[in-house]
C-alpha cells in the first residue's frame, strides 16, 4: 500500500514530520512509515502512530552521511512503496533531499514552511526571491520529496498503537568522505527556533560588550538573544548559532524584540513568523517598523536598559 515516509536525523524534527504525516495520511488515505536510521530512533518511533518503522543497524549508517543515507532512503522508499517523502529541512536534511531526489527522479521542495493537502493535491509554501515573496508550490512528479522546516508543528506524542518494526538489509556503497571531528559551535547553544521570547540585535550595537544590554532584557523576559548575520559572521560578537534569517534560523517566538535592526529581508524572513514583534530603532523610516506590532523610535542604549528595569 502506498505510503508517506518520514525521515530526519534529528529526533524532535522526525517526530514533527511524523505528526504532519499522520495528519496528511488521514486526508490522503495513505499509511505512514518512518525510516529510523539514527541509532536508537527505532524504538522511539514505535508508539507514535506510524504503521511501520524501517530500521537498520548497518555500520555504514553511522555517522550520518548524505550519500549513504540517500541510498538507504531510496531503497526504503521502494520497499515501503512511498509516494511522498518528508525530510527535515536542516542543513543535513537539505543535502540529503537533493541527492535523494536526483537518485529517485523525484521532484523536491526544500525549506517548506507549510504543507497542506488541498483540492489540487499537496501544496507547500516556501520563501522565494530571497524571502521577498512566499511561493505556494506543488510537485507534479509521481514521487515527491518535501523538506519541511523544523518546528512546523508539534511532535507526535508517544502512547499510540504499536507500529511494526521492519529490519531492512540495505545495499550501501560507502561514502568517500572521511569525517574527522565535530566541534560544537556554541557551548552555551540555545534553542533559538523553539524559544518563546527572542531579543534580536543588529548593527545598531556599537561594541561587543554591549550585547549585555540585550542579554539583560532577554533574561528579564525569560528569553534568548539572537542576532542578524553580520553581527555573528563579520563581527563575531555572538556565536553563529544565534543567527536569525534566510541562511540562519527561523524563529517563531511569541514575542520578538528587534533592536538596532533595519529589517532587511534577509533578516526579516527569520522573524516574520513571530506572534508579536517589537521594534526599537533610531531611524523612523527603518523597514523594521513596517513589520512591527509595536515600534519605539529611539536609541536602544536608552530604551533596552529602561525596558529591562520596567520589567523587573
Amino acid at each position: 500500500m502506498p505510503c508517506l515516509l518520514v525521515f530526519s536525523e534529528q529526533d524532535r524534527c522526525a517526530f514533527e514530520l511524523l505528526q504532519k504525516a499522520i495528519e496528511l495520511g488521514k486526508k490522503m488515505n495513505l499509511e505512514v512509515a518512518a525510516a529510523a536510521l539514527n541509532g536508537s530512533q527505532g524504538e522511539k518511533f514505535r508508539h507514535r502512530g506510524c504503521a511501520r518503522v524501517y530500521t537498520s543497524s548497518q555500520e555504514l549508517l553511522q555517522p550520518f552521511d548524505a550519500f549513504v543515507y540517500a541510498q538507504a532512503l531510496s531503497q526504503i522508499a521502494a520497499a515501503s512503496q512511498a509516494t511522498v517523502i518528508l525530510i527535515g529541512s536542516t542543513r543535513s536534511g537539505k543535502e540529503l533531499a537533493g541527492r535523494l531526489a536526483q537518485m529517485l527522479g523525484a521532484g523536491c521542495l526544500t525549506d517548506c514552511q507549510s504543507l497542506e493537502y488541498e483540492k489540487e493535491g499537496l501544496v507547500a509554501t516556501r520563501n522565494a526571491f530571497g524571502g521577498a515573496t512566499v511561493a505556494a508550490q506543488k510537485l507534479t512528479t509521481r514521487l515527491q520529496i518535501y523538506a519541511l522546516m523544523p518546528y512546523l508543528c508539534e511532535p507526535a506524542a508517544p502512547g499510540k498503537a504499536e507500529g511494526e518494526v521492519v529490519q531492512v538489509s540495505l545495499d550501501l556503497k560507502p561514502s568517500r568522505i572521511k569525517k574527522l571531528k565535530k566541534t560544537p559551535k556554541d557551548l552555551g547553544a540555545v534553542d533559538i527556533e523553539g524559544a518563546e521570547v527572542l531579543v534580536c540585535v543588529g548593527k545598531g550595537l556599537a561594541k561587543p560588550e554591549d550585547v549585555k544590554i540585550a542579554e539583560d532584557l532577554a533574561s528579564a523576559l525569560s528569553g534568548f538573544v539572537a542576532c542578524t548575520k553580520p553581527l555573528a559572521t563579520d563581527l563575531k560578537w555572538l556565536p553563529e548559532s544565534r543567527i536569525i534569517g534566510l541562511s540562519g534560523k527561523k524563529g517563531k517566538p511569541k514575542l520578538a524584540v528587534c533592536a538596532g535592526i533595519s529589517g532587511q529581508v534577509q533578516f526579516a524572513v527569520g522573524i516574520r513568523e513571530a506572534k508579536t514583534i517589537v521594534a526599537v530603532n533610531t531611524d523612523p523610516n527603518a523597514y523594521i517598523f513596517q513589520m512591527a506590532d509595536y515600534g519605539l523610535i529611539g536609541d536602544l542604549y536608552q530604551i533596552l536598559p529602561q525596558l529591562t528595569a520596567a520589567l523587573k
Binding site: Q102, T110, K138, V265
Partner: protein, 258 residues
C-alpha cells in the same frame, strides 16, 4: 588544479520592490547580477588557483542576458566561461539546472574540483549541488566554511546548524560553500576590461541533447506574492518615555510572565 565554478544569474534582490496593491514583486529596471554566495565560491576558486595554479572555468545556465552578466565572474578571476543559454532558461527548476550543468561540465574537460554556493540568492533551494554530485557520481561536501587542499586531498570545515564538522576527501569532489568562507573581491577596472576578451563558449540545450521542452517539469507555482503582514503597526514616537505604554500593551497581550 582545474576548478569548475557553477554560478547563477539573478536579479539584484536588494533592488526588488513589492507593489503594495498586488503584493507582487517588481523587476522592471532591476539589474541582473550573479548570486551572492556564487561569488564566494568563485573567490575561493581564485584563492586556490593563486596557490596551486591551474584554470577556473565558470559554468552557468540561463537566458541570453547571461552573456553579459558572466563578465562579472570573468573579471573576478575566472579564466573562461561555458554558458548554456536559451530564452526559456530563466528561473528553471533545480533538476533541469543540474542536468544542463552536468552536460556543460562534460564539455570543460577534466577537473579536480567543482565549487558552488550552498544555495542560490533567489530560490535558495540548495538542490543543485547535491543533484549535480549525484549526476556526476562525485562525493559532496556541503556548507563548507573553509577549504584546504594538499596534493590530491581536500580538507573542509563544514558549518552545520550547531556544530562544525571537519571532513577529508580525495579529489575530484563537489563542494558547496557558505558565505562566511571569504570576502569576494571587487574586480579592478583593468580586470573588467580584460573580462570581455576571455574565452566564452555559448551552447544551447539542444547542443547538449537536452531539449528543454521535453524535460519533465516537476513543480507548479500556484502563487508567489509578498506575505501578508497582519501587524498592529502601533508606533511610539517618544522613545524611552513610551516604555510604560509598551509594557502595558505587552502585558495586556499576556506576553509578560510576571
Amino acid at each position: 588544479m582545474d576548478i569548475i565554478v557553477c554560478v547563477k544569474q539573478t536579479y539584484d534582490l536588494q533592488q526588488v520592490r513589492i507593489r503594495k496593491e498586488t503584493r507582487q514583486p517588481v523587476f522592471e529596471n532591476v539589474p541582473l547580477t550573479l548570486g551572492n554566495i556564487d561569488k564566494n565560491a568563485l573567490e575561493e576558486a581564485v584563492r586556490i588557483r593563486e596557490k596551486a595554479g591551474g584554470k577556473i572555468t565558470v559554468v552557468s545556465v540561463g537566458p541570453e542576458t547571461l552573456e553579459d552578466t558572466i563578465k562579472e565572474a570573468l573579471a573576478m578571476g575566472a579564466d573562461e566561461a561555458i554558458l548554456v543559454t536559451a530564452p526559456k532558461l530563466d528561473s528553471i527548476e533545480s533538476a533541469l539546472s543540474a542536468a544542463l550543468l552536468a552536460k556543460a561540465i562534460g564539455q570543460a574537460g577534466p577537473f579536480d574540483l567543482i565549487l558552488l554556493g550552498e544555495g542560490s540568492t533567489d530560490n535558495y533551494s540548495g538542490q543543485v549541488g547535491p543533484r549535480l554530485a549525484e549526476l556526476l557520481d562525485l562525493p559532496q561536501v556541503t556548507f563548507a566554511k573553509s577549504l584546504h587542499i594538499e596534493g590530491r586531498t581536500l580538507r573542509a570545515v563544514r558549518s552545520l546548524e550547531d556544530y562544525l564538522e571537519d571532513v577529508e576527501v580525495d579529489l575530484p569532489v563537489l563542494v558547496t560553500v557558505v558565505s562566511e568562507i571569504n570576502e569576494p573581491r571587487i574586480p579592478a577596472i583593468t580586470q573588467i576590461l580584460k573580462a570581455g576578451r576571455k574565452p566564452k563558449k555559448v551552447l544551447s540545450p539542444e547542443d547538449l541533447e537536452i531539449p528543454i521542452g521535453k524535460f519533465g517539469l516537476q513543480a507548479e507555482t500556484i502563487s508567489n506574492l509578498a506575505p501578508l503582514q497582519n501587524r498592529k503597526g502601533i508606533l511610539f514616537k517618544e522613545g524611552a518615555k513610551n516604555i510604560p505604554a509598551l509594557v502595558k500593551a505587552l502585558e495586556e497581550e499576556g506576553l509578560l510572565r510576571r
